[in-house]
Symmetry: C3
């Protein structure tokens, strides 16, 4: 009857922010289970949180997604609710929601949250997570409000897109970048297995990975166990993207990689010919 709410933010756990939002949800949607997708994404980093939400969304129970990474809070950015085949996404319209919304099939309706009756009055500066987004999520999850109750429809149902780097396949080289270093030091790139297939590589091949001016010859395997401890591997990770790892080690340190650093991949021959 009442939908689960999946909640993601950059509030961290140092203060009571996450707890207060849970309090608001519990008051307004007491029957809705709340799933914490994560709250320790780097503060104000919309891209990192948006990618995490995109990786997570298909594993979250359909219902309401409340996402708040909002470096522009208090400025003109829109607060939105977007209806999709998965459910309703609620958060700031700054690119945070758009990749996950696209992943689940796009928005059939987007409204701008503007109705003060669906908000909690604040004694001062508005804490949007607590006063605007959480009540909207709870009212929608509990069926107390529909999207039209939150505010006017956004023409074209458009969300602000997140600008994500594309890979470039030129001849026998794929150029991409590192876009997620997980807590274990594994480095996900924006390169897909299809990109590697396009330059003639398949699992079992050796891949030449170039970071800065350094070339590494790394086997493309299916999982950690196929290389010795301490060795690098190229693999398709649990999200379906090409990633780099060190068995029982950290690939980010081994390869000097962090978010946004350029990486190119090639077959053995083409790399030596470069």
């Amino acid at each position: 009857m009442t939908d689960p709410i999946s909640f993601l933010s950059d509030f961290g756990h140092q203060d009571e922010f996450v707890g207060v939002v849970h309090g608001v949800l519990a008051k307004l949607a007491p029957e809705s289970p709340v799933i914490d997708v994560g709250h320790d994404f780097p503060r104000g980093n919309v891209k990192t949180a948006a990618l995490a939400l995109t990786r997570a969304i298909q594993y979250l129970p359909e219902g309401v997604c409340l996402a708040v990474v909002d470096p522009g809070v208090g400025t003109a950015r829109r607060a939105v609710a977007a209806e999709t085949p998965w459910g309703v996404f609620i958060g700031p319209d700054n690119g945070l929601l758009s990749p996950a919304v696209a992943m689940v099939g796009g928005a059939s309706k987007v409204v701008s949250i503007e109705n003060p009756e669906t908000m909690i009055p604040s004694p001062g500066e508005t804490f949007h997570g607590r006063d605007v987004f959480a009540p909207a999520a709870a009212l929608v999850a509990s069926g107390e409000a529909g999207l039209d109750d939150l505010g006017p429809v956004v023409a074209g149902d458009d969300l602000v897109p997140l600008l994500l780097p594309l890979t470039k396949v030129e001849g026998s080289i794929v150029s991409g970048e590192a876009w997620w270093v997980d807590a274990f030091g594994n480095v996900q790139t924006n390169v897909s297995p299809d990109d590697l297939a396009a330059i003639g590589l398949s699992p079992g091949d050796t891949v030449t990975v170039k970071v800065g001016a350094t070339l590494h010859s790394i086997p493309w395997v299916r999982s950690y166990g196929e290389v010795p401890e301490g060795e690098l591997l190229v693999y398709v990770d649990s999200v379906g993207l090409v990633a780099l790892a060190v068995r029982d080690g950290r690939a980010d340190e081994e390869l000097n990689l962090s978010d946004g650093v350029a990486v190119s991949l090639a077959g053995r021959r083409s790399a030596t010919a470069e």
Copy 2:
């Protein structure tokens, strides 16, 4: 039928302490939802956690509040349960509970938790969060116990108060202090907008903020968006107190402020006359 339990502590997440308390609550009050207000407050810092609870309490669903920041565990401090209009507060009687209890209208009854039948026997030193406070919270939340089952009434229904610094308004200057730096670097003071009104200031004015020997002229605005990026602002924060921030930056670093540091505020004229 069974009340929600809001749980705050300084246990952190490094060990299994928070999880074990959740286990006890789930065993003894399986129908009670549990809201984690926060567990990463500085260890043993009663004041920081008490202020966080005070900020949070009105957003938490009425029921039971279990709060454990207990540097005096194992000494003579009392374990208490306090009945209030909001619900029942349970924790050590060391000042942690009193500001939030006062915020919701005060305690109509306070008992000292002493009944061993409402506790979990420990194989050694008592882990009060697990063995004393959690079972008391669960029994009260589930209706299995009333306050009188926990122990004797405390005469006068008095809780140990938390000594909080008061602001001082002298002539055209308000003297206060920083009392919360949040994770984003915003600095909340103990100064209220009424204090500023008392020295003739209103929103839109420029405020002279003095930290140590340094004077800063800062506009009093309603929200971040009203100043350029990187600039300081004075505003009334989401809790209703006067705070200092830097748009897209950290006011604590910019102003060299941390918990307990003295801050005085004045109008432009009085400051230059100082």
Copy 3:
């Protein structure tokens, strides 16, 4: 009808891993409450997490325990489900589960999780927490699957044991080691009060504690309050093991102790005679 799930891992909170597992559990066992035992144990450290689970298990509601600290993921280690008097333990068979399983009475049946129908297909490398362990835990908790549905029985119902150091009582000296420093700096040893009794010590005695070449004379008391602030104490901790603490301080720093460091305890006389 549907069992609670207690969930422990070393995933940390930096990424969305914990949230994604919660999502899978919420989708497949929507009625099961989930208790987070802890997720910030040192990465890949099976022993630390296994000890934490052993300390916690008796306080967790009977049902399903999902534990994932899995440095050997992607290698030949087995994924198992173990039936015990407490309930079902699910995780990698690398020593993580065995001490807690032993604590609750041992396993009456162990199966190797191999049935692809109880797993979530992955677009690449399998994320075992998400794709193998979480669905198994959810299906068992919700009653949708029995152990036999997960895979074949492991002969002998044997789990890989965790090798834990034993204490040695020789004459009037107990030799052991530090095996848990909690977040407050208290140091738990593997020494039991029975070991101390075996060398003739009882509460109230002074214990000679030897770390490296340094001897410390420390009173054996029941709780913090019995020594002055800043002083060392020996006590039986809330789990029933001999531990070292400093009242309002950190014993790990005072004694230069960390996980695995040797500690010997003796009565006053025997130590000076050493």
